[in-house]
């Protein structure tokens, strides 16, 4: 009788253990994976594509919205400055990206910077799929005067925040370029932040 009970209890334990193993050993919340699986089909923006200005100071209009068809991003752009500690200000909403006003306007000579969240506390943010961009993907920035600046992705990199390549991202360049920045890498629950940044480098298409 005791042995029968042991056999039964053992089989129950094996079954329970297998079920527990299968249920807990997956990656990421199921809801997020579902949301991420759906890329909203975005129409390619239309309008006059203004070539980057020749090497002079002719101003271009301020940016108002951003479209990245390859990863389903379509967002208006808010304006960002610096925080009192000198770090980059970030959008208060995780579903809207922002343009850094301390740098050039998209389409003018220099590296224009646009920043967006990868996620909120509960789900994906506007730049959730940024790291999935590939060389050659197109990025459109619409400006206040209705013109579009068109950029082509040249590289996508992940850097530890402790080794952020400030010069490569923000430093002077001789052509019209764009940087898209979000978080990436491992998340440190103790710090409440990701340990890396994903930076997309893009250049204006003439």
């Amino acid at each position: 009788m005791v042995y029968t009970a042991a056999l039964a209890a053992g089989l129950v334990a094996v079954g329970g253990g297998l079920a527990g193993l299968l249920l807990t050993q997956h990656h990421g919340p199921a809801a997020v994976r579902q949301a991420a699986a759906v890329i909203v089909a975005l129409p390619t923006p239309t309008g006059p594509i203004a070539a980057p200005p020749p090497s002079d100071l002719r101003p271009v209009a301020a940016p108002v919205s951003l479209t990245i068809p390859a990863i389903g991003v379509g967002t208006r752009l808010i304006r960002l400055g610096l925080l009192p500690d000198g770090a980059m200000q970030v959008p208060s909403s995780t579903s809207i990206a922002g343009w850094y006003t301390g740098g050039p306007r998209p389409g003018a000579v220099g590296p224009a910077v646009i920043v967006g969240h990868i996620d909120s506390r509960t789900g994906p943010g506007v730049f959730y799929r940024l790291a999935g961009l590939r060389r050659g993907d197109r990025v459109y920035v619409r400006r206040a005067d209705g013109t579009l600046a068109l950029f082509r992705v040249t590289s996508v990199r992940t850097y530890l925040k402790d080794h952020f390549p400030t010069q490569a991202v923000y430093g002077p360049v001789p052509d019209a370029e764009l940087r898209l920045i979000t978080c990436g890498g491992a998340f440190d629950p103790a710090l409440g932040s990701y340990l890396s940044n994903v930076v997309v480098f893009a250049i204006a298409v003439i």
């Binding site: 042995y3 042991a6 056999l7 100071l57 980059m88 967006g116 001789p174 979000t182 491992a186 998340f187």
Partner: protein, 290 residues
Amino acid sequence: MKTTTRTRRIISLLAISLVSALCLGGAAAVASATSATASASTGNGWIRLTHLSPNTPAVDVYLYSFGDSSAMIVLKHVSYGTVSPYERVAAGTYSVAMRGAGAAAASPAVLSASVQIEPGHAYTVAGLGPESGLRLAVLDDRLTTPPGQSVVRVIQASLKQHVVNVTFGSVTLARNLAFGAVSSWHTVSPGYETVHVTSDASSAVTLAADTVHTLVVLDGANGLEIDNLVDAAGNTAIPVGGVATGFGGTAPHGSPSPVPWLVAITAGAVLAVTGALRLRPRLRPRPHRV
């Protein structure tokens, strides 16, 4: 004695199960810790082309990658004072050829020069001098400024005034700069100031912070003109460190350790096997003695 053998068997089963459980757990931990970070230099440089010879008619400018007879870039009908935008090209050796506007691509070049483009560097290839002594100069352009400062140089491309002095506000940028010559770089406080070229021309010019400029002195329809080129521009205020753009809502939860489940499975298996082995003799028909 049979019982002892059975116990040993059970113990060895238990050991094998535990070892495989630990191996599984270890493999899972290694797999979840894998991550990759890319980092490499881009290997690109920049080149721009300009015609700065006042009495030379318009030209067609060709850019060839070394050893390739078909041109990468052709700029048609480039007239005096025209400056192309920078072209981003892979680092390497290139040659620039100038032909009269409309001349066949296969015709002999009037002028040519070879340019070694280093990664991360920018170059201006300029047709300089009078038509009789036209030459292609390869200028090393500058991409960086001291923080908050503006950096500027002057190219003297005026035949009307062979030698010029150039000032930006109270700063002298060039003294006795001869036709076809290029000044050294000057670091100045950024701002909106009047540029004076000798006493013949003046123009209000903005030199922006963290921006590299080239001022070109040109012959205009009436007297001299000043062209303010932006060679490179950065961010005027550089943010400190990385950017805080995530709250972790989509971060993979560190997968809970599989070890407790594997231990439960192993223990259950041991229990079940033990039970089954103990039960077995009872189920066998007992031998009958006759």
